[in-house]
Amino acid sequence: MSKIRFKFTRGEQVKYISHLDMMKVFERAARRGNLPIAYSQGFNPHPQMVFGLPLSVGVTSEAEYADFDLAADMKPQDFIESYNKVLPKGFIITDANYNQGKNNIMATISKASYSILVSSGKKDGIDTICKKVEEFLSQADIIVRKETKSGAKDVDIKPMIHGIQVLIPGACNEKEDKNSSCLSPFIEEYAQRILDNSVDGQCSKSDHLFCVSALLSAGSAANLKPELLISALNQTADLEFNVLKIHRTGLYVERDRRTFDPLDFEILKVV
């Protein structure tokens, strides 16, 4: 028996599927494609699949991860090819490798990066916004009210923010030299659709569209949802952002206080 870890994309077509329903999609697709997924023993066998951090309904992602147990060996490249043939449009497996480590993806996730497309209610230009964000981050603590199962409570989200960058969609081509400021094609395409007015009801002028890229704590220990970050910016940084789209661009695991890509060799090697 081997374990495989893979990375996949959840596109526009499938962004409204709940986490539980998505697991069913992968299970059924695996059956269609005769993938050798291992099943639990017992009266009610279920497939041995572990998915990373659940995405909210409506959020797209290019960096979802899952760990599957295989009952028979299968080369990662074959796994990717066979699976992609039987997955519904919108789900694409982009990378895979054997996971020989003991860790499981769900338990080890520590950070997630997002691109959040927003329209601004204020006339602020990009420089003003960046300045406001800088000031926001320079606060000693950032207290927000968080709704939990046991009622609302005040939380300091400062330690959960590991970086914020604000960019203008469509500006990427103009400064090709600065690769780091390029936005995910998911965001660029969506922004273009809004600008082309093909997404009805969300018409905005181009100079009011911004993309907030953020690296945030994620997982069971500490988790900051991008929606909450935006509402904190609106509450304390004198901004008026209206979220149009959220897209996850990365998911990271932690070992010995170091952050890794979940498919990093360090993480997947035998320990």
Binding site: I17, D21, E27, R32, G33, V57, P88, K89, L244, K245
Partner: protein, 612 residues
């Protein structure tokens, strides 16, 4: 035109997956190759409609024709409807998000009477005039089929034409006629005229109803050279007809989220309250070999984890043993479960249960329908108390601990003794559980007794009977509730109000169609969804239209009365049904079709069990 539904709207409604489409095996076609577009409309939400086998069959059948494109349309839930109306979004198809109004033919499937207001609402949301008479050359044709179409009259002013019976052949004949007509450039009436000669097609506008002074029907007059009787269509040999080798795999949970394998059509039993038992005759089975082949292909093409055997009375399937063995052998290594619904008590065998259990244990449901042997004989439900107790004892011994028992209140000739008999039967099931040694039975016994209210249906021996008034039904529910004392038994019952309306529309004539539209105007839709059922709307609508609902629901009919559905020929004759009605009142049972032919008339179709 393709509509774009904004994310803002989709984010704001419950279960946006209902409106997305793109599921595995959904069909997407290039419009330039298409000559006719069919909108298959299910007048309820996605998760109900997607569970319907008939839609799955006809969807893929139509889409296997290269010049036809069939797309699905469901009723938007109330939150989505509100957004659509606010934003001027018309009702659209799931596949291409095309407005329904742009289709050539819009077809509704009629599965239950209380979905009718959703039909009106869906037409309105589409921008298609609700009444057939108001449609013109820019509108699609609106048709309907399905079990409720056997009494088409309540919808006669709304639907342009009905397709009677099984759809696999007739729907293609209609599509061919449509494509011919489309090229001819002739008017709307010309098309309806063309298809009126296809067997099984009923165009209500071509018939006039004349009434007697007492409100009953005098006669039905064809307005031209149209058939006096419209004969339903059947597929003579199910092994030769179309069955899809793939079905759509939804993204969200639907009611029946599994492969449905249709073993046979029709039912040998002839329970006297059951419309399905008569309208689907004659009994026609598929061969186990064919079914195994379908199951294998469907499983490979969908990846489903469960297969259920469907038909009106699965345990009456002649080769059930061979079929389940074959299925388990094929599916067990693939971790695919087999579920066996609607099993009859008398032929329920330990053997079969254990085989199904090998894969997975599923719940047990029994439908004795009535509390005493006397009443079970009246309704011709050939089940005895001994059968039931033997079956549940076996089941408890096999580790089952949950049993659901279904009954009806308000059956013809019912007395308090029959009602108390229901509680007694429940107690006996509890005793049966206690009689099984502790180490063999499952922990935590749950017995659920559910009662529905009897609704007399067209084409049954009880079509002449009066339904109990709502007051009487409520009294009966209270009586039963007071008789159930065991802590292991829970009791559920249906709202008599809903059954009352169902009764009006099941046996209604053309005049009740206005009530339907009026109730919708008052805001009624999703009537079968408890929260959205507004009984007062309906009572107001009856008053506004000058219609007495009791005339349809609570009136006992004379033998010779002409019914609104008498011009529909389902094979089973009115004479036979009356004979059965008389036998019911005498407490005489009729044997099942396999033991003895009782000459119901279905043999006229020349297929199935009648000719074996």
């Amino acid at each position: 035109m393709t509509l774009k539904i904004s994310d803002q709207i989709l984010q704001s409604v419950e279960k946006p997956s209902r409106y997305i489409g793109n599921e595995w095996n959904s069909v997407h076609k290039d419009l330039k190759d298409i000559k006719a577009r069919f909108a298959f409309c299910f007048p309820d939400v996605y998760e109900i409609g997607m569970s319907h086998l008939g839609m799955k069959i006809l969807y893929h059948l139509l889409n296997d024709q290269k010049d036809i494109y069939c797309e699905r349309v469901f009723a938007p839930w109330v939150d989505m409807e509100e957004k659509m109306r606010q934003n001027g979004i018309p009702l659209f198809s799931l596949e291409s998000h095309t407005p329904v109004k742009e289709f050539d033919i819009v077809g509704f499937t009629l599965q239950y009477e209380m979905s009718y207001t959703n039909i009106v609402n869906m037409l309105d949301l589409s921008g298609i005039p609700i009444r057939s008479a108001d449609r013109g050359k820019d509108h699609p044709f609106v048709c309907a089929g399905g079990p409720c179409a056997y009494n088409p009259e309540p919808l006669a002013n709304i639907i342009d034409f009905f397709m009677m019976g099984e759809g696999e052949e007739i729907i293609l004949e209609v599509m061919d006629a449509y494509m011919e007509w489309k090229d001819s450039g002739k008017d709307r009436t010309d098309f309806l005229d063309r298809i009126a000669s296809i067997e099984g097609i009923y165009v209500p506008a071509f018939y006039k109803v004349e009434y007697n002074a007492d409100g009953t029907i005098q006669r039905m007059v064809p307005q031209g050279n149209y058939p006096q009787k419209i004969k339903k269509r059947i597929i003579k040999d199910l092994n030769e007809t179309y069955f899809p080798d793939r079905i759509i795999v939804p993204f969200m949970d639907i009611v029946h989220d599994r492969i449905m394998l249709e073993l046979f059509r029709g039912c040998i039993r002839g329970c006297r309250f059951c419309q399905a038992g008569f309208i689907y005759r004659p009994v026609r089975e598929r061969t186990p070999g064919k079914l195994l082949e379908y199951a294998k292909k469907l499983q490979e093409n969908t990846g489903y984890e469960e297969i259920s055997l469907t038909s009106l009375s699965t345990s009456d399937f002649e080769s059930l043993g061979a079929l389940t063995e074959g299925l388990i052998e094929e599916m067990e290594p693939k971790k695919v479960n087999l579920s066996l619904p609607s099993l009859r008590i008398d032929s329920f065998s330990l053997d079969l249960m254990e085989k199904a259990q090998k894969v997975r244990k599923s719940g047990l449901t029994f439908a004795p329908e009535a509390g005493t042997q006397r009443l079970r004989d009246v309704i011709n439900k050939g089940v005895t108390e001994e059968d039931l107790i033997k079956s549940v004892t076996t089941a408890f011994g096999g580790g089952w601990n949950g049993v659901k028992l279904y009954f009806m209140l308000g059956l013809p000739t019912e007395t308090n003794e029959d009602i108390e008999g229901i509680a007694d039967l429940g107690n006996k099931v509890v005793s049966a559980y206690m009689s099984v040694p502790k180490e063999k039975r499952g922990k935590g016994l749950r017995v659920t007794i559910s009662t529905s209210s009897f609704v007399p249906k067209p084409f049954t021996p009880f079509q002449w009977e009066a339904q109990d008034t709502m007051e009487t039904l409520k009294e009966k529910q209270l009586l039963l509730k007071s008789k159930i004392k065991s802590k292991y038994i829970s009791y559920n019952w249906h709202d008599p109000e809903l059954s009352f309306l169902e009764s009006v529309f099941a046996r209604g004539d053309r005049r009740v169609g206005d009530v339907l539209i009026s109730a919708w105007e008052k805001g009624s839709r999703f009537d079968s969804w408890g929260d959205h059922f507004k009984f007062n709307n309906w009572m107001e609508a009856f008053r506004d239209c000058g219609i007495d609902p009791a005339f349809y629901a609570n009136r006992k009919r004379q033998e010779g009365e002409i019914f609104p559905w008498d011009h529909i020929d389902v094979g089973v004759t009115k004479k036979f049904l009356w004979k059965e009605n008389q036998k019911a009142h005498d407490g005489d049972v009729t044997s099942n079709c396999r033991l003895d032919c009782s000459g119901c008339g279905a043999a006229a179709f020349g297929g199935g069990l009648c000719h074996e």
